[in-house]
Symmetry: C2
Subunit: 556 residues, 2 copies
């Protein structure tokens, strides 16, 4: 049997657009001689469409699209497409199954309903779907194909095992499996185990594309009954892989290379950003660039995702900005070929100081000195520091309002964890590209991108300079935060693995610093709740993946 792994990038909610894409890909598969075209999970409505799955009229639209696809199907090919199947009657608050329609000869020939509905991590499928309770298989071109969907085969047993036991030669597994670092390799290992248990061929067909926080990385594959990878689709792009089952002897296998670790992370960020911009209809993005490493990485990603002509960098120096960082910021814009706008913020800082001095510094207000008397300055404090960040945020948003830009924020995961960011300041923007990238990984990604470019797209001085927010004279991140190597290790244990203080200390981390980091993470929950969404690249990102109350007196 000739099989097509149809790794497409649908858009959530775009039922008609997704169906049109599926129809075109069925034709491509058929033209390549495929007898079976497998599409990803829920590719007609898009995934995850969240509470759209609760809307009756949304379900009706996706059913109509599936029926239309079936009617339009040319002879000689069977297609498997994921859709949200309305529950006929007697449903509870949930109105749908997470289903797979098997289309052939002008009609929907069979519908399989996902048995195992993940409800952990980023998944809420038990909020939306009624589980199916039965396995199923279809005969395609003389081969018996067992039907499963994603989670169904993430553990041993039925429905996959039952279908294999009943004679399925191939287990089909349309999926919507989101990326985190190294996930593709994990899937090949785990499903290899499954294929050996089943003693069957195994076809994993994943979504590809960005959807808000999530990136689906593709990397669909066909495994042999021994777990060997017989075909592999590309990561982070649409791909049609046509392969015969069993594989003919002596022909080269269609095996896309898996990317090296850092390039994989970079690819995920690039695709997540690209798709957020395109699927939401933005033509242009803007970001503030400071000369620091974080905004340098986001600028690189934006240019790689969109091209330099769709990116504007904005440098907004204050009196605390050093000439060196300003020069670096301008150099980065030059190297990347983007537009650069320069707006000094000192005049606005003066305005706020005049307006606020008596309210921020009651002592001065009670004296006879003028509020802006330079001989009696207010203590530089958090309020004044934050105002600088917020002026910059306002400027970015004004440019966004005027020109229709999407503003990108540049905070990394280490900062977002401990609240080392200004709400409505550097946190102002629509998409937080690197919010799940720890600071130590930011450096690695920039260095690797320079290496791939064969030149210093980002100057070495940006990489070597000690990190600073430059909100007061001679400020360094290390004044208020532990060394980033240690901080990132603590954060990984606390945020990604839910370890408690005692476990971390037992693992050799210093107790005093652990306590302080836990305190900072916990009390920054309110900030994160108002942060822009960003791209998940770790096993636990801030967002739908880690849901903690703001009001929370548990220490750790």
């Amino acid at each position: 049997m000739r099989l097509a792994l149809c790794q497409i990038n649908p858009t959530v909610g775009d039922v008609d657009g997704n169906a049109a894409k599926i129809a075109a890909w069925i034709e491509r598969a058929r033209a390549a001689g495929a007898e079976l075209a497998i599409f990803p999970e829920l590719c007609v409505p898009g995934y995850p469409a969240e509470d759209l799955y609760l809307k009756h009229h949304f379900l009706a639209a996706n059913v109509a699209a599936v029926e239309e696809l079936a009617r339009g199907l040319a002879p000689g090919i069977t297609a498997m497409v994921g859709f949200a199947e309305p529950v006929e009657a007697g449903g509870d608050y949930r109105h749908a199954y997470n289903s797979l329609a098997v289309l052939a000869d002008g009609a929907v020939r069979r519908v399989y309903r996902k048995n195992r509905l993940p409800n952990y991590s980023v998944f809420d499928e038990q909020r939306y779907f009624v589980p199916g309770t039965e396995g199923d298989a279809v005969e395609v071109a003389g081969t018996r194909v067992g039907l499963t969907i994603c989670e169904d085969t993430w553990a041993p047993g039925p429905p996959g095992q039952a279908e294999a036991d009943a004679g399925a030669r191939l287990i089909s597994n349309p999926s919507g499996s989101p990326y985190h670092r190294g996930k593709g390799h994990e899937r090949e290992e785990m499903f290899g185990q499954r294929a050996r248990e089943y003693g069957s061929y195994f076809a994993f067909v994943n979504l590809v594309g960005g959807q808000d926080e999530l990136v689906f990385d593709g990397q669909s594959f066909l495994l042999g009954p021994d777990g060997a990878v017989l075909a592999r689709a590309a990561q982070f792009e649409e791909d049609l892989v046509v392969v015969d089952v069993p594989a003919p002897e002596g022909e080269p296998a269609p095996l896309a290379d898996a990317l090296p670790d850092l390039d994989e992370v970079y690819g995920a960020l690039e695709l997540g950003l690209h798709d957020y911009v395109e699927k939401n209809g933005f033509r242009h993005v803007g970001l503030g660039i400071s000369g620091g490493i974080d905004s340098a990485l986001v600028a690189m990603l934006a240019v790689d995702a969109l091209g330099p002509e769709r990116v504007t960098l904005v440098v907004m120096p204050s009196p605390h900005s050093s000439d060196e960082t300003q020069d670096d910021a301008r150099q980065i814009a030059h190297n990347l070929g983007t537009e650069l706008i320069d707006i000094p913020i000192e005049p606005m800082m003066d305005g706020y100081r005049d307006a606020l001095d008596r309210h921020l510094n009651p002592a001065a207000a009670d004296s006879d000195s003028s509020p802006s008397d330079p001989t009696k300055p207010s203590e530089p404090d958090l309020a004044a520091e934050n105002i600088q960040a917020r002026i910059r945020g306002n400027l970015m948003m004004a440019l966004s309002n005027r020109h229709g830009w999407l503003v990108l924020t540049t905070g990394n995961k280490s900062e977002m964890s401990v609240g080392y960011a200004t709400l409505y300041g550097d946190m102002a923007g629509g998409f937080a590209v690197i919010k799940d990238v720890p600071k130590t990984l930011v450096y690695e990604l920039v260095e690797r991108r320079n290496e791939r470019a064969g030149r210093e797209l980002v100057p070495a001085s940006v990489i070597e300079r000690p990190p600073s927010a430059e909100l007061r004279p001679d400020q360094l991140d290390s004044d208020s935060l532990p060394d980033y190597d240690l901080l990132d290790r603590i954060l990984e244990a606390y945020v990604e693995r839910d370890e408690g203080r005692d476990e971390m200390v037992a693992a050799g981390m210093p107790g005093e610093i652990v306590d302080e980091v836990i305190r900072l993470v916990d009390r920054s929950e309110y900030k994160r709740r108002q942060a822009a969404p960003g791209i998940r690249i770790t096993p636990r990102a801030f967002g739908r993946d880690r849901r903690l109350p703001i009001t929370n007196r548990f220490g750790g």
Copy 2:
């Protein structure tokens, strides 16, 4: 048997504090002669503690607290307390049951595990808990008491029915049932039906208190086997209700009155605000007051929840602010007895205009005229309007940073729905008190509060003036939005009932306006995602209750 309904207000994560409160209340119940003290669902760890329930060390802490409570229990009383019971072994990603510990004679005598785990609306219990599969009952003072938890009895059948059939005279139902408008009445009706089905007494013991978006309204009750309400605890406050089963003839029933509709909504908002402030450790709140109806309501609520000495109102006039609204703002502060701060924003508007003019208005920049030449003003546009709101947001946040205030935002549900609010401007703040209150209800609540005060706490001019954001000369909300009566009807259908366009039009709403409102609601999702949390008072609030993707091409 003498029964105590222990309607307490625990704090999420405060395991030791909650246990201490429970111990004190058991003593109070015992002193009143109670033989059985029933506490709400998950009262030891707090509810909903969200992903805290996934932390092993959090579970361990709550188990230790329950064991300590059991050891400290005086003879003669049985106590039922809700806790998160760790799964011994073989659990999946979930590590706990949602359980009820029955404490007596110095030990945990029995543990019941909730059978039905809600996973819809604001509930995610299948993310956290493994369902129990068995019913259970205990004998207390000669009476057989069937054990259930909240959702277990929201539909007919087991486990409640099975225990009643097996001879339970009383069904105990500790709950964590959040408020929406009219919910208390719904519960009494629905559980009355249940009591009749069971032919048993029915004790509903609810949490009370605010937890981020949710308010638990209390209103615990005891029903007779005929569904009659035999005892009712207060709404929106802690309450200990002691009542005998069966009720002795001729004694008055301990029946707190249920509040009239508008007072109930007001009470929910007041408690939600109070608890967010207190449980997060704030001493003071501040809010911008414009002279409009929304900030007037929030100011009233803040003063009622916290007292006038803990509230500062900040009036921030621009050249577009009318004398009348300014006077009204000052009058409200005077009537409520709060501090008032006055910070005109024109100087900062000038600073931004100078800095941005050439970037917002390229034509002017290309000419020879000075960017701030008053004879060639920039077109008043969205960017300039938003800058005013954002200057105000910055000022509020600076005061917050300096003085440790919680900043309250004042946007209502109608505005939050259609995006008629400025991100980082009037949306800047930590708690969005009335974000689930439709504009038409804002008026009703203010009028009712004036009526209760017996005087115009909020001047009639505020209520009578046509709504305006005052961001440009002569601006009115009605310039860009439909009449609020119609808007709120459309929003209720679309947001709260998930109706589609065709259903709304069939119900008589004008198609063109329905289309426009749907478009505005859908495209404002990114703003709401960055909004502060606020108090849920309707059956579907923005927040954990309505989870829609930002990237979404489905129109409606």
